[in-house]
């Protein structure tokens, strides 16, 4: 079993009507690996995330997570298996507090059932306070625990990003998908975010699959990088390979600049 990849995707293809968004996509992620996915706007990076996490079904292909085919499962089932994600535009719940955000992601771990919810049984109190404790720890890990009783909209942007990360971590994922975790951040927030991602990876030992626009982030964090253009992987390799790959440079910078 140990040799089996955590996430294995075989020839995943997606058509939106006649538009081919993703074509013959293959991926293997081992436990504990950090993998990057880069590509110009509209290349289909987020579509790949959405396909894997079950937001829409792939037209064709297989997605094996922990050896199990997860194509056709609902997003909440896939995430409960241990595949957590963040969103490009965060998708926070604007009326909820920071702590509630993180606690909410422990929904699948709740065992007290509806009776417990209606009657406030001791079992419920126990589970709720346990999940509050875990949530608080995660908020500390990403460095926003001082905001835990604030409503999310009161937080600065960088802190909201981190809450979103803590929320995804509360699922206790085996693999974490990060969709542009540093989008819209200033250099200082960027540094902090990179530190946090590395810390999460080191302390919680989870695999990370990362979409990024900023080359620096991907180059520094990832061991392996895929480059996606028009739904097809045009290059795959370690950061140095990618940096020097003429096809990647062409896709990013245009032909003339190739040296």
């Amino acid at each position: 079993m140990w040799s089996m990849p955590l996430l294995q995707i075989e020839q995943m293809t997606k058509y939106f009507g006649g538009l081919r968004a993703v074509h013959d996509y293959n991926l293997q992620i081992e436990p504990g690996e950090i993998r990057g996915l880069i590509g110009p706007n509209g290349a289909g990076k987020t579509t790949i995330f959405n396909l894997i996490t079950g937001i829409y079904p792939p037209t064709d292909g297989k997605v094996l997570f922990d050896g199990r085919n997860i194509v056709g499962l609902k997003p909440y089932q896939i995430s409960a298996l241990g595949l957590a994600r963040t969103f490009q535009n965060m998708r926070l719940w604007r009326h909820m507090t920071v702590l509630e955000h993180v606690k909410q992601a422990r929904y699948s771990k709740i065992n007290y059932g509806l009776i417990g919810a209606f009657l406030g049984t001791p079992k419920r109190q126990e589970e709720e306070s346990a999940s509050a404790r875990i949530a608080q720890e995660l908020l500390e890990l990403v460095g926003v625990s001082r905001f835990s009783n604030q409503v999310i909209t009161n937080l600065p942007y960088g802190a909201q990003r981190r809450v979103e990360l803590a929320r995804a971590l509360a699922i206790e994922p085996k693999i974490l998908f990060l969709d542009e975790p540093t989008a819209g951040m200033n250099p200082e927030e960027l540094e902090q975010m990179m530190r946090i991602i590395r810390r999460v990876h080191d302390e919680l030992r989870m695999a990370i699959f990362l979409i990024e626009h900023r080359m620096r982030v991907v180059m520094e964090l990832c061991e392996m990088i895929q480059t996606l253009v028009f739904g097809e992987v045009i290059a795959e390799g370690n950061p140095d390979d990618i940096r020097n790959n003429p096809a990647v440079i062409e896709a990013y910078l245009g032909e003339e600049v190739v040296t």
């Binding site: 937001i55 997003p75 909440y76 409960a80 969103f87 998708r91 909410q104 919810a117 709720e128 306070s129």
Partner: protein
């Protein structure tokens, strides 16, 4: 701030300053102190109300703080003066004096009770509230009716708030659920315990009626929840306006269903319900519903509703089974609406299909949106104030339906989500003593 201090802001700050100055001495009064004051007030009314009213030139104890009397004859200034004096002498003065004078003992008792066991203190507070309502409503049958209908309106409002506030969908099906519950409970009690010319002779001795009444109510709730499945299956596949449209249709379908069912009296309605929904019964169910609904919306399973409302895709990605969440909440809301419908039928002791129409829908929606979305105390405030207001403004006749909507518009302009919205209801926090040693005051974040 310093740039513009127009006459408007000046006045407003003067008013708010005045309010703070008046309110200041009452800040350390715990809920228990207010309840002592209220007990005193209703006791005074019970003992001296009638002679006092006579002295002040009123024919009897004013039922709703005299609003009805004054509105019936708005030009009679003597009457207005009498009513004002009555309210001050019977309510405002005793309550404020008792609350102010009992600050020390009330805080002491409250903290003692609280330290023994939180829920014992809660039960004592609830019993005190019941006692106050009981004595107050003892004065006239009219008051008794109003109190019971208001308590039932709290259940209506709170259960609708679960769907329209907590879940953020727009449901119009509450009159339908209420009708289902009202008719089911009525058929249960009238059919089993009453010799009725529509439903036939009694099958069981009438002495069992009070004992079996909860079964009838719960049956009503279950039937309403079954009705809710009919709406939930087609409309929860997607979000948006579908639920509003389907649920509105449902209300009309249920109404015309009962209009055409001859065995429950058709459009003539069904009467003869036994007098089972007395004040203790209604109060018990109201407290139970508030407790259970509040428990639910504060749990992670209930908070999932807020997650679904604020971002369903994110909720789904964070392991929340959104479809199940919406289903459960909708059925749950329908259950309480149906149960309250059963109580309603036994308070009015007559049900008629036309009761459960658009007007009832408008009233319940008004209570939810006036009081505040996503909050239990908002629903209580909304239900009580709209209900009392619509009773008190009865003498205005048709103008009542101008005043109340105007009030709603004002609320929508200044507080678009209602008076008290997006607040958590924590009864233990409310009954806590207001003045204690420093370490108790320190706010510790609780688990839920």
């Amino acid at each position: 701030m310093a740039v513009t201090t127009g006459i408007f802001t000046n006045n407003r700050s003067r008013i708010s300053k005045f309010i703070t100055r008046v309110w200041e001495p009452f800040i350390p009064v715990p809920l228990l102190g207010w309840l002592f004051g209220a007990v005193l007030a209703v006791a005074i009314e019970q003992l001296f109300g009638l002679p006092l009213a006579r002295i002040l030139g009123l024919s009897r104890i004013p039922a709703l703080f005299g609003v009805l009397v004054v509105l019936n004859d708005p030009t009679n200034l003597l009457l207005l003066l009498g009513v004002l004096l009555y309210d001050i002498l019977v309510y405002i003065l005793p309550i404020s004096v008792a609350a102010r004078l009992t600050i020390a003992p009330a805080n002491w008792i409250a903290s003692r009770l609280f330290n023994i066991q939180g829920w014992i203190s809660a039960i004592i507070h609830i019993l005190l509230i019941y006692g106050i309502l009981h004595i107050w409503s003892d004065v006239s049958d009219y008051r008794l009716l109003i109190v019971r209908l208001t308590l039932i309106a709290i259940i209506f409002t709170l259960s609708l708030n679960v769907v329209n506030g907590y879940m953020g969908e727009f449901s119009c099906s509450h009159p339908g659920f209420i009708a289902l519950g009202a008719y089911t409970a009525s058929i249960f009690t009238v059919g089993l315990f009453i010799n009725d010319n529509i439903l036939g002779p009694a099958l069981l001795p009438a002495s069992l009626a009070a004992l079996m009444f909860p079964i009838g109510l719960i049956l009503g709730g279950i039937v309403a929840a079954l009705g809710a499945i009919l709406i939930a299956v087609p409309s929860f596949k997607t979000r948006g306006d579908y639920l509003a449209i389907i649920s509105l249709a449902f209300t009309f379908i249920i109404k015309s269903l009962f209009e055409n069912l001859e065995f429950v009296g058709g459009p003539r309605g069904l009467g003869n319900q036994p007098n089972l929904a007395n004040l203790p019964t209604v109060f018990f169910w109201t407290v139970l519903s508030i407790w259970i609904i509040n428990n639910f919306v504060r749990s992670t399973l209930g908070k999932a509703l807020n997650a679904v409302r604020d971002d369903e895709i994110a909720a789904n990605a964070m392991t929340v089974n959104t479809r199940r969440t919406k289903f459960v909440a909708f059925l749950f809301a329908a259950f309480w609406a149906g149960l309250a419908g059963g109580l309603f039928a036994h308070v009015i002791r007559y049900v008629n299909p036309s009761t459960f129409g658009l007007q009832m829908l408008a009233e319940v929606l008004a209570m939810v949106y006036f009081g505040g979305l996503n909050s239990v105390q908002g629903s209580i405030v909304g239900a009580v104030s709209i209900n009392l207001l619509s009773e008190a403004l009865r003498p205005l006749e048709i103008f009542k339906w101008i005043v109340i909507p105007l009030l709603l518009i004002v609320i929508m302009v200044f507080r678009p989500t209602g008076l008290i919205s997006f607040k958590e209801f924590d009864f233990f926090k409310i009954i806590k003593p207001k003045r204690t040693s420093q370490k108790d005051v320190e706010y510790a974040p609780t688990a839920d």
